[in-house]
């Protein structure tokens, strides 16, 4: 176990050390003390290592993550796991706005609530939120799965493409071109797997699926006047 005090070593040296790890590194477990809300902690990792941040983080923690597992033992600031490619990011507390934005792959687990714009423009990432999510979540979401065990705020899935949105609680309002969909066996299967992987015991049968009504995919001449 490698133990690093961020206040002593500084952000650049910490991230440089983490970036030096290769896929066959022996230093697979890292603990970071005193994060104190710093920005860009454990960003751009690309090795199968496990990093545990012992406290709350600022902007862009675990951004662009590949392969690594990043655990945040507090809450995360804006843009956590932004553009994640693979690996896993687990937040014990809440996440601020645009968690998992533009993510291409991997799993983001938020054990508390996520605020606005969670999963905006997601492109293949899976996001499981144990609590609620804020407004404009999954805006222009392209692919991947967003699972919300609590409620969703206004304008869920506005202008979304092929991402699947599963919500157990209430949805305050749906965004443009987002609609309620049928839950088929394959969706229950996906959901069961994701919930298990995210350590959540919610019953998959209680969720509702939402997704694109696909009306905005093609130009409609009747809308010409709107432009």
């Amino acid at each position: 176990m490698q133990n690093v005090d961020l206040q002593e070593i500084g952000l650049r040296d910490l991230n440089a050390m983490l970036h030096e790890q290769s896929s066959d590194t022996n230093q697979t477990a890292w603990e970071i003390d005193n994060p104190k809300g710093a920005h860009a902690i454990a960003c751009g990792l690309d090795a199968p290592i496990e990093v545990t941040v012992k406290g709350s983080t600022g902007y862009y923690c675990a951004g662009m993550n590949k392969q690594a597992t990043v655990n945040i033992k507090g809450s995360a600031g804006p843009g956590v796991a932004e553009n994640m490619m693979s690996g896993k990011v687990v937040i014990e507390g809440d996440a601020s706005q645009y968690a998992g934005a533009t993510g291409h792959g991997g799993l983001l687990v938020i054990k508390g609530n996520a605020s606005s714009r969670c999963g905006i423009s997601m492109k293949g990432i899976n996001i499981v939120v144990h609590g609620n999510i804020g407004h404009m979540s999954a805006f222009m979401a392209q692919s991947g799965n967003l699972v919300v065990c609590g409620d969703a705020g206004d304008a869920l899935g506005d202008s979304c493409y092929e991402a699947r949105l599963f919500v157990r609680g209430e949805v305050k309002s749906l965004g443009a071109d987002c609609e309620k969909k049928e839950m088929r066996p394959e969706h229950i299967e996906i959901l069961t797997e994701l919930l298990a992987e995210a350590g959540c015991d919610a019953n998959p049968e209680e969720f509702t699926r939402y997704g694109s009504a696909r009306n905005l995919y093609n130009f409609d001449v009747d809308n010409a006047a709107a432009y």
């Binding site: 104190k36 809300g37 710093a38 709350s56 809450s75 600031g77 601020s96 605020s115």
Partner: protein, 309 residues
């Protein structure tokens, strides 16, 4: 960007440390805005007295003999405490308007930063560390205070464009964001007789709240109606004589974090600003909801009310 911090103390034993804690919080937010910095402090009220905080770019010349000249013109006792470019004028209750008129005549270069029984505002161009040191903010005590570090977007980088803004007795406001209907609203408020000093968007926001409260609204109600009447991005933190409020616009893209313990309620643009507060590890930490008014004062419990976006 811009960085905001705010601290509302519930535990009186922390009051001597208010300036120190606020300064530390504000310095942490320096990289959110390097243009100007300011702090509003609500210190102890003196019976029968009120005060004006004023600023001059030529303090030696402006403040020399000012106390005597003001005392004579107002025919009452005026005390002055000078700190760098700022001076706090303590005057008897009820002469604020006359004092401003006299000041404009005998020392037109002197600008008003704040007025009120408890409020003092110190603000200048420069980094939080330098501005706070210049006015010895860390030594100040008080029951609540607000700080701001600015990245200018809507108006010039000047002392008058720095936050916090004060447009009514003991009222102040800081802002992260930009208002897009400030020109039309400024014209409207000026027609209503509200004094607006600058071309800055935030001052219009502050003046709007003052106007609402002059027409009988509570601060909570004024903040609530700002959600309808102000167009643009904003996270506001406001101070009144005994209270402290927060509101974010419905889109809520400007960041905000709050923390509450038995000892205080704290606000920061980022969690980083709060990490050195006592007992922060066990505080309730949350992100204020969009289009929701939060308000605390020393006479009642927390109030929040939500308005549909």
């Amino acid at each position: 960007m811009c960085g905001i911090v705010g601290l509302f103390l519930k535990d009186k034993s922390l009051e001597p440390r208010l300036g120190d804690m606020l300064t530390d919080m504000l310095i942490t937010m320096t990289d959110r805005g390097p243009d100007s910095a300011g702090i509003a402090i609500y210190s102890e009220e003196k019976s029968g007295k009120t005060k004006l905080t004023v600023q001059s770019d030529t303090p030696e010349a402006s403040y020399d003999g000012l106390q005597g000249a003001l005392s004579k013109a107002l025919a009452c006792e005026v005390s002055i405490e000078i700190e760098s470019t700022h001076a706090v004028l303590e005057i008897p209750l009820g002469v604020t308007a006359r004092c401003r008129a006299v000041l404009a005549e005998i020392a037109p270069e002197v600008r008003l930063m704040s007025r009120g029984d408890r409020l003092e505002i110190y603000k200048e161009v420069g980094l939080p560390r330098d501005v706070a040191a210049r006015f010895k903010v860390e030594k100040m005590s008080g029951s609540h205070g607000i700080g701001h570090t600015r990245m200018a977007t809507e108006s010039a980088v000047t002392t008058m464009g720095a936050h916090p803004f004060n447009t009514g007795d003991d009222q102040c406001l800081v802002h992260n964001g930009s208002l897009s209907n400030h020109n039309s609203l400024r014209r409207k408020l000026r027609r209503e007789g509200i004094h607006i000093e600058t071309e800055n968007d935030t001052e219009v926001g502050a003046a709007y709240l003052t106007w609402q409260m002059q027409n009988g609204a509570t601060l909570g109600e004024a903040l609530q109606s700002s959600l309808d009447d102000l167009d643009g991005f904003f996270t506001f933190v406001v101070g009144t004589k005994d209270g402290f409020g927060v509101v974010r616009d419905p889109i809520a893209c400007k960041p905000a974090v709050m923390a509450e313990t038995d000892q205080y309620v704290a606000f920061g643009s980022e969690y980083r600003a709060l990490v050195n507060l006592p007992g922060i590890e066990d505080a309730r930490v949350w992100e204020p909801e969009p289009a929701t008014v939060y308000f605390w004062n020393h006479t009642s419990d927390e109030t929040t009310s939500e308005k549909a976006a």
